[in-house]
Symmetry: C2
Subunit: 243 residues, 2 copies
Amino acid sequence: MPQNIYDDDSFFSGYSTLARSVQGLEGAGEWPSIRAMLPDMAGRRVVDLGCGFGWFCRWAREAGATSVLGLDLSEKMLARAAADTSDPAISYARADLDHLALGAGGFDLAYSSLALHYLETLDRVMASVHAALAPGGHFVFSVEHPIYTAPSQPRFVTAEDGRTIWPLDSYLREGRRVTNWFAPGVVKFHRTVGSYVTALLAAGFTLAALEEWGPSDADLAAHPVWAVERERPPFLLVAARRG
Amino acid sequence: MPQNIYDDDSFFSGYSTLARSVQGLEGAGEWPSIRAMLPDMAGRRVVDLGCGFGWFCRWAREAGATSVLGLDLSEKMLARAAADTSDPAISYARADLDHLALGAGGFDLAYSSLALHYLETLDRVMASVHAALAPGGHFVFSVEHPIYTAPSQPRFVTAEDGRTIWPLDSYLREGRRVTNWFAPGVVKFHRTVGSYVTALLAAGFTLAALEEWGPSDADLAAHPVWAVERERPPFLLVAARRG
C-alpha cells in the first residue's frame, strides 16, 4: 500500500494552500492540456483514481458524465470531497490503487491526476483499469514527470555561468525516492517515460497522446514565475484507449 | 536539407573511429535493444534511413530480408557502404530525408538509427515513411534522447557533493542546437519525447514500443565506463506499426 502522506497534518495543511487545492482545476497549469485529451463527458461513467478534494469529479458531472466514482487513500481529502457535493451521481470511496476491484467493463473513462507516481508498481493498476473500462474506453492520466522525479537532489541550481539548470542524475535508476514536500519523508517512485508507456502497452492499451507539459506563452504572461518550468517538464500527460 | 556534416573531413575521420563504425552493430550498445524491436526479417523489404556505412543493410540481408535500400546524405559513407557489399539485393542511394519519394506501400520495414534528430521537422518524414510502408509495416528508429539534445551545455559536470550530474536546461525549448563533435558547428534539432510520439501518431502510426536506452548490468560488466549513461539516457528507441 502506498504511503498515506496526504493524511499527515503538516502535509494536508500545506497541500491545502496550493492553487490547485483552493481554485480547483483552474488553479492547475496543466489542466487545459489534460482537458484537451478527455473525450466528451456526456453519458460517460467515470472513475477518478486519486480524486483528492473531488474537483474533477464535480467537473465531470457538470460536463455531462452519468456517474462518477472518486477513489482516494486520504480520509481527510475524501471527507472534504464528500462535504462539497450533494450530487447523488457522485460517489467517493477509500481505496488503495494497488488493489483496485472495479466492476469489469463498468466505466467509459478512467482519470488519474498526479497519483500514479506514488505506486511502487504499475502493472496491477494498469491491468485493473483496463479490465474496468468498456471496449473503446479512455484512460487519461498525469504524473510527475520522470525528469522531475529522478534526481537525488531534485531542485533547480544556478550554474557557474548563471544559467538555471536541473541537476539530473539517476534517470535510469528506477525506484523509491524520498523528498521533503510539506512534510519530511514523502515517498514516491521514479520510473522512466518508457516504463509508463511499456506498462500501458503491456496491459493492452493503445497510446493516444503523450505530452510533456510546460507553460504556454499565455501561461507565462499570466504567471511569469512559471518560466523556469521550461527548463524541465514538471508533468507527463498521457491518454490511452482500450481497444 | 539537413547539414551534411558526415562529409566533413574532420568529422568523417573522427566518426570512422567509433566502435559502431569499426565493429558495426555489435559495437553499438543499444543494438540488442533495437534488434528486439525488429520483426523477423525473413521476406521483408527494408529501407534504412540514414544507413551510414551499411552495417544494418548487410545484417538485414543476412537475416533474411528480400531487398534492402540504404539511404544517406553522405557521399563518403555511401561510397564505403557500396564498396563493402556485392549483394545485388542491397541498393544504396543518396537522399535527403526531408524529401523522400519512396514508392507507396513498397516496404515492410523502415529503420533509422540516430538520424532523425538531424531533421528540423518530423512531419514530412513521418508521412513519407507511413506512405512507403505496406499495411502492417514496421517503423523502428533510434534518436539521440531529448534529455541528451536539450541542454545548452550538453556534458556531465561534477556537483559540489561529488555526484556526476547532467545539467539539464531548455528541455521544453525545441529547435536548433549546435555542438562540437568531431567538428565544430554540428547542427541538430532538439525535440521532446512527446513531440516524437505526437508526430508518429499524427502520421497514422500505432506506437508499439518506446525505450529509453541505458546500459544493462551485463553491459557495465563488459564496459564499466558506460556507468555514467545511467544518469541520463543517451538514446530513445521507438517501434511503431502502420495499421
